[in-house]
Structures are given as structure tokens and as C-alpha cells.
């Protein structure tokens, strides 16, 4: 009702629009330019002989035609078996790679090989012209058969390895254009194919009834060049995604796990795919059986992703800093391709398991496949696989290019910052005051409008649950030990990812939040406010260089120079940075001669240049100190920090931004390529995107299946702590239209599967059985609600400064934390132990569950606060 009122006023609507724009709006979000054509997915088999077989290459499909259902343009004859196993005969069109002698490399030959190879590479799949091809070779296959030889070598190496576990590789290709190749290498043993899939994978049947593939999923989802367009709705039969990704095994477990899932045992092929029938037949006819000599050996397979960087430093940074996320996606590709290949390799002779005469797999006589041989490009039109690939590309594009949560700015000229509230406030002191005001006015607005009985106390319930699941606020109010340096194995990026997903408590729960509503403006306001409560630590990247020896000497004579400002020390990063800039400048003036530009960036740059000149002469490193032990003492080279990213003292201006496309300088909205802190909170998106911790959507219903698949997938994520694999993955859903909150969750449990082999690794065990659940949320914590309204009143009614109100909010959060500590101690000491099951976190306490009144009284809390307190105490 409120919303109706809200909408009925056109003027206010306009203002709202304006406001929404300032919150999330349409001003240029400048992510690295990245589109689907820059992502290439390749699957290869190494048969162990000289040939490497391409099973799939997304560059073969036609990503830039939106209507590529018309697969008839792919002429089977153009790559028929006559050619493709003959290697050198037609290398360019051949998908089987002919590898040169796989003995130890001859160094002097490599350059030669290289140039030869390069000449074969087609520079760009999109630009390749059909003119150079014989007219009979219409279609896209030949055009796109570029540098696959090179990639094959990179993926498998030049000498086969006998290691059978999962191998990870990353290559950087300079030519023909900068590309990163990410590879997962794995093997499939005949034993992987032995067991009868139908016994094992009953659960798949539930989805196989609805695996009809809609027409647009044939790799065509990513048909556009821009990130915005990438989120165009794809009509997807999402039920398939759902189960498709649901049950996996993990990396290295394969060796020990005899059998994995087959494909859905039946396909209902879409009419459009039906159209491919002729083609399929001809493909099958030319399938060539080979290498039957070694039926018992296993074969290596690879799934690789080529990312074209197009000289985009930001994209490059993103790939390296977000590898954990990317890798999870790679694992999904791998899991699926593993299943599909197993299915292809396995005979499935029983006609009863195949429904429909259109199935590719319906003619057992034709597809009797030996373990060593698959047809070239056999996955090229596999609808399931195409869907997996599409999904992979979409989610990757989304990760890079989606607009993120940003602060509302009253000053329209300053529409540049798009960052999570807490992180921005904590990193950039000069932004605090302004952001505190924005936060308080947004919070007040939301509480006024959506936090009374009529609106189901929507905001209070939402924030209660945010605090309950996104627990990383806890360390921010606690006396907290610095984690840096305490543990040799500490990985700040990894910790940050865990923080964002709220993986703090026990059991380990991964949480994300989606706010859905057609009222974009309000959704954005909510997202903005929530980005204050979903917290993580900043990660600073030091860009450090050895000071050339000559300069070191000069410096030493002048002043004792402390080059390394440790960020964890007392000095604030900004102090440190200022210092370093000074140092850089001092050094610069010594080297001078470089044009003295206005900006620090140029200072740094010029300094670097002069330094590298120096470096070349200091090979004759002098030797000073001698040890009495068996090792000679060598002094640690002195170094200096060139820059710190993000630079807390930085006030971004437009001018800076334009001049700033260097690695050492990133404007605020480019910082997201550096760590997870700014990359996992999306703004208002047209459609669901994977992996985001926070996101706004018009409607969640239609994406629920994709979300559920993601939740399941996240259970496969490597554990954030060794002791505790992620056991639950949940999504808090706030639906603005109905003013309801709920939790969608997945829970892994270790059940026993009849007929299954015992789990071998924790990981795999952990993933076997997944419960899904849905819990409506209708309890607000009195404590949280009071806290919020008090803040609002202090701000709006009394006119207290916004920062003061936030101070109060933080005080209340800290007290909450202390109450949790006391609760934990109370439960530990109390003889009448408070029994709250772990389920308590997700479901309302059952009627007969005794709420421990004593505890509440002792803590000064309301019954409704108990779940929250319990969650917080689980972090202790």
C-alpha cells in the first residue's frame, strides 16, 4: 500500500529516480571492458600419443550471432575424420593436434617452432575472414581454429605426467595478443566408468524429466559486447542448472572415487536441436575408433579457459586477485565435463534409459566408444555442456562487469564512488563524515517507511538477519588480534573472502543476501545501508622495489631511512604513504632530469625508470659481513614502497582518474579489481548473477533455481578454515514487494548412500548429500530494532551528528558482542546447560523448546534476541 502511495506521486517518483541514480545509478561505471568474446573455453583429451584431441572449443561456435541455433552451418565434412586424425595433413582445420616429438625439448628449436606455430594462429577469431578459406569450407569451424596447437601444448605440457590428480596451470600468452590460459588437468580411469550409473545416480532422474533445453541456450546467451547487455535475460530452463550443479565430487577425489554421475539418463531434445539430427548422424558416421590398444590406461583431459586481456591491466589484476572465485567456476566446468565425458565413454546400451528418438546417444551401435577415443569436438553441440559453458561465461562476465554498490551522493558532480559503505569509511577517513550522513539519512528513511507493523518490521528483520549471518562485523567491534603475520600461512585475500561471506562462526556458514523488489530506488537504498553491516578488512597492496645500491648509499649518508612502513604498525597507512611519497620524491630529485610532473604518479613512474637503469650496473654486489657460522651473511637489500593501494589519503578527482590507468594508481571505482572487498557487492541487477554477497534484483522467483545451484556449489568451495568445511550456505532474501524476509539454504550432511562407496575425502563426503530448506523470517530482534530506532531518533529527532549516531550504533553492537561472550560463558558454566541445537540458527525454536529465561534475564535481552546472540557467540 505504501508503495502504491509512493508511486502515485509522479514528482516524488522522479525524485526517487534521481535518488536511485545517485545510489546505483546510470552514471558511468567503468569496469574493465570485458565481453563474452574474450572468454574461450576449451576441452581437450591427451590420448597419450602424439595427438591431442579437441573435444570442445567455444571459439568454434559463433558467439557474435545471436541466432546460432542454426547449427547447420557447421559442416561436419569440414572436419571429418578423414582429416582430423592425420595431424599435419590439414593442421589448421584439424582439431586433433599434432604434437611434435615429445622428447625433451630442444632449445634451439623452440624459437623456430614458435614462429611456425604463430604463423598458423589466426590472430582473432572474430576478425578472421572467410575469404581466405576455400568456398567449400563455409561455416565457422575453420575460421576459428586458431592457436589450438599452442594451447594444447600449454595445457598438457610437452612431456606427459603420470600424476593423476588434478593439476592447475596458468599460462600467459603474449602473442598474438595478451591472453591468460587457466587450465585444470585431470584424468579419467576406466574404473571411473565401470559401475552402473543408474544405480548410483537416482537423484538425477528427478531433473531429467525437465531438461528440455530452451532455444536460446546454445551458447548464445553471451552475445553482446557490453557488460550491461550481458545481463539480458536468457530464457533458461533453470531447473536444469539446479541439479546440474548440485552433486559433485571435488578435484582430487576422483582417483579414489570409483564412479560419478552420469548425465541425466534421458533427454528431451528441443525442437531446435532436433534440427541438428542430420548433422549428428553424419558426425557419428565419421567417428573414428582408434587407440584401442591400451584399454586399461587412463587418459588425461583438460579444461582450459583463455581470457583475452586486450591490454587491460584492470582485467589482469582482477584475474589474479580473484583466483579463488575463478577457480571455483573452473571446478564447476571440470565437474560437468567429467560427468559428460564419463557418460560418453561409458556404454549406455539399455534403450530404456534413453527416451526420444532424437537423442544423440540413442544408437548404441554407433557410439560404442572406447575409453581412449572420443570424437573430435564431441562436446561442441552437447546441449548440457553448452549450457554449462554459457553459465560459466555469464557469471564470469557478471563478476567483472556488474555495477557495484555505491554511496549516494548529493553532489551530482561527484558521482564517482561506488563502494561498500563500511569498507570505504574505514579506508578513507576523509569520506567518513559525508558517508555517515548518507547512511543515517538512508537508514532513517527506511525505518520510517518500512519498519512498522504494517510493513512487517521489514528493515529490522532484515538487519537482524544480516547481523546474524554476515558475522564479520563481530571482529570490528571486538578487541581483535591482528591476524597479519601471526600465521605464516595467513592469506589476507582468502580471509577477506571468508569475511564477506560471513564465514566466521561454527558451524561454518556461507551467507549472501539478495534484496528483490520492483522499486529499484528503495532496493538500492537498502543495499546501501546493508553494505554498512556486511564488513571486511581492507587489503592494502604494497608496491615495493629494491632501492638501487647507489641510492642506498646516498640515503644512508644523509639520514637513516626507514623504508618499510609496516601497515600493521601504529602509523596509519596514510602517514606511511605520505612518507613514501616523500622518499620517492627525494630520490627523484636526486635522480632528477625527469620532467617534474605535477602528479605523484609520474614521480613514481619516473623513479622506477631511473631505478631500473641503476639496477643493471649493480650486479657486482659488494659483500660486507661475514658470519662465524657456516653461512655467509648477506645484507637484505633495502627497499622502498612506491605506492600503497588503496591509498587512504587519496581524494580522487576526475583529472586523476583520466591520468591514472597505471598499476600503481587506481581510482576508487577501479579498486575492486584488487581484492574481494569491493567486488562482491552488486547493485541493482536485471538478472541474478553468481557469487555476489549482496545484490538487488527486480524479482528473485525466476532465479531461485540458479541461486539454489549457486548455494550448492558454494558448499564445494574449499573450506575457509581447515577444521571446518562450509556446511551450510544460505541466502537471506528480502522481498520488498511483499515485505517478507526468508532464508534459502543448503546444508551438507554426511548421510550414507546405499550402494555408494564410502566417501574418501572430507570434501567429497561433505558434498554428497545436500538438504535444501526455506525458512520464512518473521522475528526481529528487539535489541536490534531498538538500536536502529534509537539511532534514527537521535539523528532525525534530536539532530545529533550522523557520526555520533553511528558511534552509538557501534556501541550497541559492541555491547551485543559482549552479551554474546557472557552468554557463552553462562552456557558453559551453567549446570542447567542451555540447549540450543545448531538447527536453532535456521528454524524457529520449536514450541517445546525451553527458552532459557534465566539467560535472558541475566543478559538483559529479549527472547527474540536469542538466536542472534547464539550466532554471535558461535564466532568466539
Amino acid at each position: 500500500m505504501l508503495q502504491k502511495l509512493f508511486r502515485s506521486k509522479p514528482t516524488s517518483k522522479n525524485e526517487d529516480d534521481k535518488h536511485a541514480q545517485s545510489l546505483l545509478g546510470t552514471d558511468p561505471w567503468s569496469p574493465p571492458s570485458f565481453d563474452a568474446s574474450q572468454i574461450r573455453v576449451i576441452v581437450c583429451q591427451d590420448t597419450g600419443d602424439k595427438t591431442k584431441l579437441t573435444l570442445f572449443d567455444s571459439a568454434y561456435s559463433t558467439p557474435n550471432t545471436s541466432d546460432n541455433r542454426d547449427h547447420t552451418n557447421i559442416e561436419p565434412s569440414s572436419w571429418s575424420g578423414v582429416n582430423f586424425l592425420s595431424g599435419n595433413f590439414l593442421p589448421k582445420s584439424s582439431s586433433a593436434i599434432n604434437i611434435r616429438s615429445s622428447t625433451l625439448p630442444r632449445i634451439q628449436d623452440s624459437t623456430h617452432d614458435e614462429s611456425k606455430r604463430r604463423s598458423l594462429d589466426s590472430p582473432n577469431p572474430n576478425r578472421s575472414n572467410a575469404n581466405t578459406l576455400p568456398p567449400s569450407n563455409r561455416g565457422n569451424l575453420r575460421k576459428t581454429a586458431h592457436n589450438i596447437d599452442l594451447i594444447g601444448d600449454m595445457m598438457f605440457g610437452t612431456v606427459p605426467l603420470s600424476y593423476k590428480g588434478m593439476t592447475t596451470k596458468i599460462h600467459f600468452m603474449e602473442s598474438p595478443k595478451p591472453q591468460i590460459l587457466l587450465t585444470k588437468l585431470f584424468s579419467i580411469n576406466p574404473s571411473d566408468l565401470e559401475s552402473n550409473p543408474s544405480v548410483r545416480r537416482g537423484s538425477f532422474s528427478s531433473t531429467s524429466s525437465d531438461t528440455s533445453l530452451s532455444t536460446s541456450t546454445q551458447g548464445s546467451a553471451i552475445t553482446t559486447n557490453g557488460p550491461r547487455n550481458a545481463s539480458k535475460p536468457i530464457s533458461e530452463s533453470s531447473s536444469m542448472f539446479f541439479d546440474d550443479f548440485s552433486e559433485f565430487c571435488d578435484d582430487d577425489s576422483f582417483r579414489a572415487v570409483p564412479s560419478y554421475a552420469s548425465l541425466p539418463s534421458s533427454f528431451r531434445i528441443d525442437p531446435s536441436i532436433h534440427g541438428l539430427q542430420d548433422y549428428e548422424d553424419s558426425v557419428i558416421l565419421v567417428w573414428k575408433m582408434s587407440s584401442l590398444k591400451h584399454p586399461s590406461r587412463s587418459f588425461m583431459y583438460s579444461v582450459g579457459v583463455v581470457l583475452s586481456l586486450d591490454d587491460n591491466d584492470l582485467l589482469e589484476s582482477f584475474v589474479f586477485s580473484h583466483f579463488a572465485l575463478l577457480e571455483n567456476k573452473l571446478h564447476q566446468l571440470y565437474s560437468n565435463v567429467f560427468k559428460i565425458i564419463c557418460h560418453l565413454l561409458r556404454k549406455s546400451p539399455s534403450p530404456s534409459t534413453i527416451s526420444g528418438s532424437h537423442s544423440i546417444f540413442n544408437t548404441p551401435t554407433r557410439h560404442r566408444i572406447s575409453a581412449s577415443s572420443l570424437s573430435s569436438l564431441v562436446l561442441q553441440n552437447d546441449p548440457l555442456w553448452l549450457k554449462v559453458v554459457t553459465r560459466f561465461k555469464t557469471s564470469l562476465l557478471g563478476n567483472v562487469a556488474l555495477p557495484r554498490v555505491r554511496a549516494p551522493l548529493h553532489d551530482l558532480r561527484a558521482h564517482k564512488q561506488k563502494e561498500p559503505l563500511w569498507l570505504t569509511m574505514s579506508t578513507f577517513p576523509h569520506k567518513r563524515e559525508k558517508l555517515a550522513k548518507s547512511f543515517m539519512s538512508e537508514l532513517s528513511y527506511l525505518l520510517e517507511k518500512y519498519d512498522d507493523e504494517k510493513s512487517n518490521f521489514f528493515i529490522s528483520i532484515l538487519i537482524t538477519n544480516i547481523l546474524m549471518y554476515h558475522l564479520s562485523w563481530v571482529p570490528t567491534v571486538a578487541d581483535f588480534e591482528e591476524r597479519n603475520g601471526k600465521n605464516l600461512f595467513y592469506d589476507p585475500l582468502w580471509a577477506q573472502l571468508g569475511d564477506l561471506y560471513g564465514v566466521m562462526g561454527t558451524p561454518s556458514i556461507m551467507s549472501r543476501t539478495i534484496i528483490s523488489g520492483t522499486d529499484e530506488n528503495t532496493v538500492c537504498r537498502i543495499l546501501f545501508v546493508l553494505s554498512y553491516f556486511i564488513r571486511c578488512n581492507e587489503i592494502f597492496e604494497r608496491s615495493e622495489d629494491i632501492i638501487p645500491l647507489e641510492l642506498q648509499r646516498e640515503e644512508e649518508s644523509k639520514t637513516s631511512l626507514n623504508c618499510d612502513k609496516n601497515l600493521s604498525s601504529e602509523s596509519t597507512p596514510s602517514d606511511g604513504n605520505v612518507l613514501h611519497k616523500k622518499e620517492a620524491e627525494t630520490l627523484d630529485t636526486q635522480n632528477k632530469n625527469e620532467s617534474n610532473d605535477i602528479t605523484n604518479i609520474n614521480h613514481n613512474k619516473s623513479h622506477k625508470r631511473s631505478e631500473s637503469q641503476h639496477k643493471r650496473v649493480i650486479i657486482d654486489f659488494p659483500f660486507t659481513d661475514i658470519s662465524v657460522e657456516n653461512f655467509l651473511d648477506v645484507p637484505m637489500p633495502k627497499s622502498q614502497i612506491q605506492s600503497v593501494i588503496p591509498d587512504p589519503s587519496l581524494i580522487t578527482t576526475d583529472k586523476d582518474k583520466n591520468a591514472a590507468n597505471t598499476k600503481s594508481f587506481l581510482s576508487a571505482d577501479q579498486l575492486f579489481v584488487k581484492s574481494y572487498g569491493r567486488s562482491l557487492m552488486a547493485g541493482y541487477c536485471e538478472k541474478y548473477m553468481s557469487d555476489f554477497v549482496l545484490m538487488g534484483l527486480p524479482k528473485l522467483d525466476e532465479f531461485q533455481d540458479s541461486l539454489a545451484a549457486d548455494l550448492k556449489n558454494s558448499l564445494r568451495m574449499q573450506p575457509f578454515s581447515l577444521q571446518e568445511p562450509v556446511s551450510k550456505s544460505i541466502c537471506i532474501s528480502g522481498q520488498l514487494n511483499t515485505l517478507n524476509c526468508s532464508i534459502l539454504g543448503c546444508e551438507a550432511y554426511n548421510g550414507h548412500i546405499i550402494g555408494g562407496s564410502p566417501p574418501v575425502t572430507v570434501q567429497e563426503d561433505h558434498i554428497r548429500n545436500v538438504n535444501e530448506y526455506f525458512v520464512p523470517l518473521n522475528t526481529k530482534s528487539e535489541y536490534v530494532s531498538t538500536m536502529l530506532h534509537q539511532c534514527k531518533n537521535l539523528y532525525t529527532k534530536i539532530g545529533m551528528p550522523a557520526e555520533s549516531c553511528l558511534e552509538y550504533l557501534e556501541d550497541r553492537l559492541r555491547i551485543l558482542y559482549h552479551k554474546a561472550i557472557m552468554y557463552k560463558n553462562y552456557s558453559a558454566n551453567s549446570s542447567t546447560a542451555v540447549s540450543i541445537s545448531s538447527q536453532y540458527l535456521f528454524v524457529q525454536p520449536s514450541k517445546n523448546e525451553q527458552v532459557p529465561v534465566n539467560v535472558l534475564e541475566a543478559l538483559g535481552l529479549h527472547k527474540s534476541d536469542l538466536q542472534l546472540i547464539y550466532a554471535v557467540s558461535s564466532t568466539l
Partner: protein
């Protein structure tokens, strides 16, 4: 940083071989290796639980290499030799036992517990095997475009490796060049990948240094040596191995240079990404005052003595333990009166001779306001409230007669015990001060109905049946709650009329007077009007603290 950097070489005679390694040792090196090899704990990126880097044959298909991969390794040919700089290059200092030196060590200038040690092989056999694997794999298995540049590979068993390949010109080598690689080995692939940009740029510049030097020498040699004919090449091959890197580059302390760079790379790589923990106290510096967390600091440990007497009258003969004991001794009514007077800013005068008891009472009461009030513990004469909030004087001290309800007197008398032990019984007497029911609205039935929140809440807490430890926590929380309100109140007072005018006023268009707003403020803070003096007193204490 748990990683090893090494320089490896594809030798014409021996194939892939390790030349030099630098690794970090921490003060407890043995444990580190164990940790590194087994699982990590805490929040590192995932490393599988099973032991990695375990030695297993058959990992590589190249059988010859496997045979070589034994601890000692083959006696290296000159081509793959690592050598210390000759003693005469070491300056004036005399080198003792030069022949026993195995390598280099470098102290970490930021962390004294870390030492970087450079030698031909890692000392630990498992690490040796891992480095050896990485060497063979990067030089003869992995393919890298142009054999120059970075490649990352690895698995959970053998660890993850970033290998930066490069070629060095050598007029005597086959094809006039030799293949080397810098390899960086660690188990945390997420961290390794994140370090890619850093490592690649450092390796690249290091490689460029070496290449440049080699090229210069190559140019020189090119003029003196005739082009290497196949014949010449074969002759050389049979007779002597290629020169060592030191000779090739004509740099005697080459490995010093390499080790120094490796050490620095290890150090800088480990510190490149720094997590900055920000808590709300950094964010809002004002937040920290008055917040005492001592009780909460170590929630699992119990620092509180459990032998707290339940009946303090009897056993508190020496001192009074805590608020609850004080309440027990004074009785609820007196206790409330005492606290109420104090917390409303009245002066507390304690008269007595037992300094231990007095001290303990002072510390208990003072603790309510976190050192913000002034105390005169050994007063002899009367001092007005402007001088101190709590005054301790001997019973003999003369008190001005005009004392009234702005002061409250606590007289403490010791009565000798009848028992033979030296225990004393203590009697108290309260004098002056205000009574609860004289402030606020006096209720008909004389209950404590004028809800003086502070004292009511305190009483409620003290009535809880909690262990001393929990009671302590609860009281801390109580104080924290009040201090948070007080902070707002103080800010309100300080800001005075200058409170942000841009914010909506409560009533349309009406300008609200400050005193009215003050009432409203305390209402939003869940404080009753009757507590206003308490807020004032506490905020004064806060200012002084």
C-alpha cells in the same frame, strides 16, 4: 612466507638441475617445515589436509630424473655449479673456515625471527624433492611460449610453482644460449596466483640483469672466438662442460647478488598484501573512551577467584570484594542510597580507620565511573566536593556543620570480634544524603517507583544469581550501556546549539529549546528524567577520564 625460490638450469650434460635455492627459516624452523608440509591451520588458503610434497616415485615419467632425485644429487658439473665468492672478494674481513661455508644467510630487517638461507639445495629432504620436481617439470615438461616468461603449475601433492624461464647467451653453448628458470614454490596456490604480478615483474628484471650482462660478454667473445662450428662444438662437448654461471657472467659474487634478491623477493612477496584490521574504535575514535574490556578480553579464561564468600559479613573482615558484597554488607536500602547519592554527583565521605576496607570500598565505587572521578584516599581535613568526589578521612576529622544532602557519609566502625581469631565485625552507618523517595515523585506506597533507572538496573543485576565471573561481565556491560548513553549526552551538551541545523526538527517549524530537546534526547536513550543528574555526573567523569 613459506616458499622457496630457486635458480634452475637445463644443463647440456645433466638435464634439468637445481643450482641455487633460498628459503626462509623462522625461529622455530623445524616446526615450520612440519607445518609447511602438513596442513596449515587458521585462515590460510586451502591446503589439503593430507601431507603434501610427500615423496613418491613415479610422479614424473622421466625415470632418469627420478633416479637423480636423491638427497645428495649428482656431483654437479661446472655448468650447474653454485659457488661462493672467493675469499679475496670479501673485503677486509677475514673469513674463518671459508671452506666450510655452505651458502648465505640474510636477516629479515623487519622481523628478527626470520632468516633467509641460500644454498645449493634445500636442507629438508621433502623440500629438496619438491624443488627437484619443480625444476624438472618447469624445464622439460611445461610448455611456455618462446621458452621465455612465466608459467604456473602444480598440484596439491607436489606444491605449486611459478616458473619464470629465460635464456642467457653463451658463445660456447649449443645454439649459443642456455636455458634457466627462476622458480617460486609454495603450497598456497591462491596466494601464489595473487602474487603473480609481483613475482613476474621481479623475476623479469632479475633475468634482464643477467641477460644484459651475458649479452655484453657474448658480444665481446664473439669478436675473439671463431663461430662455433659443429666440429668445434663436438670437441668441446667431449672435453669440458659449459662454464658456470659465475664464469659466464664474469661476476664472482653473482650468487650473493642472486641470494640477496631472492631473500628480498621472499620477504616482499610475503608482505605485499597487508590486511588492515579496522574496528569501530579506529573508525570513531571517541568510542574508545570509557570502554573497558578487561573482563571481556579473554572470555575463556577465568581470572576471578572463585572463593568469593557468599556471606561477606563474616569473611570480608579484611576487605570488600565487589559491589555485591558491598550491597550485602550495607543492606539493599543503604546500598541504594549510597550508590544513588554518589552517582548523582553528591560527595561521598567515608569516615573510618580501617584503611583496607576503605580502600576496597573506594575502588568498588570508583570503578562505576571508570576513574573519572577524583578521590582523596588519605584525607585529613574536610575537602569540598569541588576538590574531590570521594573523600576518605579518619573518624576524628572535624566536619563543617552545614553539611547537608549534597554529601553522604559512610561511617565505618570496627567492632572487635568475640571469637579468638582476629576477625573483626564491621558496622556501617549512613548519614546525610538524599533519600530515594525524596527525589522524583514520591509514591504512596513508598516503593521504589520513581524509576531511577540507574540504581534500579544495578539492583536488578546484583540480584541475579550469577557466578562472580559472570556478575563481573554483567556489570561491565551495564557500565558500557550507560557510558554509551553518556557519550551521546556529552556530545549533545558540547555541541550545544550548534547541532546540525539541516536535520529535521521534531515538530513542524517549531524551534525546540535545548532543555526540551535534552529531555527528548534522554527519552530516546531510554533514560528517565530523574536520571539526568546521573548523566551529568557521568559525563563529567567522562570528560575527566
Amino acid at each position: 612466507m613459506n616458499a622457496i625460490v630457486s635458480l634452475v638450469h637445463f644443463c647440456e650434460a645433466d638435464g634439468p638441475s637445481v643450482i641455487f635455492c633460498t628459503q626462509a627459516f623462522h625461529d622455530n624452523a623445524a616446526e615450520d617445515v612440519e607445518e609447511c608440509l602438513s596442513a596449515s591451520n587458521g585462515r590460510s588458503s586451502p591446503v589439503p589436509a593430507r601431507t603434501i610434497l610427500e615423496k613418491e616415485n613415479g610422479t614424473l615419467s622421466n625415470k632418469k630424473d627420478l633416479l637423480n632425485a636423491v638427497r645428495s644429487g649428482p656431483a654437479s658439473c661446472a655448468s650447474c655449479a653454485f659457488s661462493l665468492p672467493p675469499p679475496d672478494t670479501l673485503g677486509d674481513i677475514k673469513v674463518l673456515n671459508y671452506s666450510e661455508k655452505k651458502g648465505f644467510k640474510t636477516e629479515d630487517d623487519e622481523n628478527p625471527l626470520i632468516t633467509y638461507v641460500g644454498s645449493r639445495y634445500p636442507q629438508h629432504p621433502q623440500l629438496y624433492s619438491a624443488v627437484r620436481q619443480a625444476c624438472v617439470r618447469s624445464l622439460s615438461c611445461e610448455f611456455c611460449q618462446g621458452r621465455e616468461g612465466p608459467v604456473l603449475f602444480g598440484d596439491d601433492k607436489n606444491g605449486y610453482v611459478l616458473s619464470y624461464m629465460f635464456k642467457i647467451r653463451d658463445s660456447q653453448a649449443r645454439g649459443f644460449q642456455r636455458l634457466y628458470s627462476f622458480i617460486f614454490l609454495m603450497t598456497d596456490r591462491i596466494y601464489l596466483v595473487a602474487s603473480w604480478p609481483f613475482l613476474v615483474s621481479k623475476f623479469k628484471s632479475l633475468a634482464t640483469d643477467l641477460q644484459l650482462k651475458a649479452s655484453q660478454i657474448f658480444e665481446k667473445e664473439g669478436s675473439t672466438l671463431s663461430p662455433s662450428s659443429p666440429d668445434q662444438y663436438l670437441r668441446r662437448r667431449t672435453n669440458q662442460p659449459l662454464r658456470s654461471l659465475v664464469d659466464l657472467l664474469k661476476t664472482k659474487d653473482l650468487f650473493v647478488y642472486i641470494h640477496a634478491n631472492f631473500s628480498w623477493i621472499l620477504k616482499a612477496c610475503g608482505r605485499r598484501l597487508q590486511e588492515k584490521h579496522v574496528n569501530d574504535q579506529t573508525l570513531f575514535p571517541n568510542t574508545s573512551f570509557l570502554s573497558q574490556h578487561s573482563v571481556f578480553h579473554t572470555p575463556t579464561e577465568s581470572n576471578v577467584d572463585n572463593k568469593i564468600p557468599s556471606n561477606s559479613m563474616k569473611e570480608s573482615s579484611t576487605w570488600i570484594e565487589n559491589l555485591k558484597s558491598l550491597q550485602d554488607m550495607l543492606g539493599v536500602v543503604n546500598f541504594r542510597k549510597l550508590i544513588l547519592n554518589f552517582i548523582r554527583g553528591n560527595q561521598l565521605i567515608i569516615c573510618g580507620s580501617d584503611s583496607k576496607i576503605i580502600k576496597s570500598i573506594v575502588s568498588i565505587i570508583k570503578d562505576l565511573v571508570s576513574n573519572g572521578c577524583s578521590v582523596m584516599e588519605n584525607g585529613t581535613d574536610y575537602q569540598p566536593i569541588t576538590k574531590c568526589n570521594i573523600l576518605c578521612i579518619p573518624t576524628s576529622t572535624k566536619i563543617p556543620s552545614e553539611m547537608n544532602f549534597l554529601n553522604i557519609f559512610l561511617h565505618i566502625y570496627n567492632i572487635p570480634s568475640k571469637d579468638e581469631d582476629s576477625n573483626k565485625t564491621i558496622r556501617f552507618n549512613l548519614e546525610n544524603g538524599i533519600d530515594e523517595h525524596t527525589i522524583g515523585i514520591v509514591n504512596v506506597n513508598k516503593s521504589y517507583s520513581p524509576p531511577n533507572l540507574y540504581i534500579n538496573q544495578l539492583s536488578e543485576i546484583l540480584n541475579l544469581n550469577l557466578s562472580p565471573e559472570l556478575m563481573n561481565m554483567r556489570l561491565e556491560m551495564f557500565k558500557e550501556e550507560w557510558s554509551s548513553k553518556v557519550k551521546q549526552y556529552l556530545r549533545f551538551i558540547i555541541d550545544g546549539d550548534n547541532i546540525d541545523p539541516g536535520v529535521d526538527k521534531p515538530v513542524n517549524g517549531l524551534i525546540i529549546s535545548n532543555s526540551l530537546r535534552q529531555l527528548e534526547l534522554i527519552r530516546y536513550l531510554d533514560v528517565n528524567e530523574i536520571d539526568l543528574p546521573t548523566l551529568k555526573f557521568l559525563s563529567d567523569c567522562l570528560k575527566n577520564a
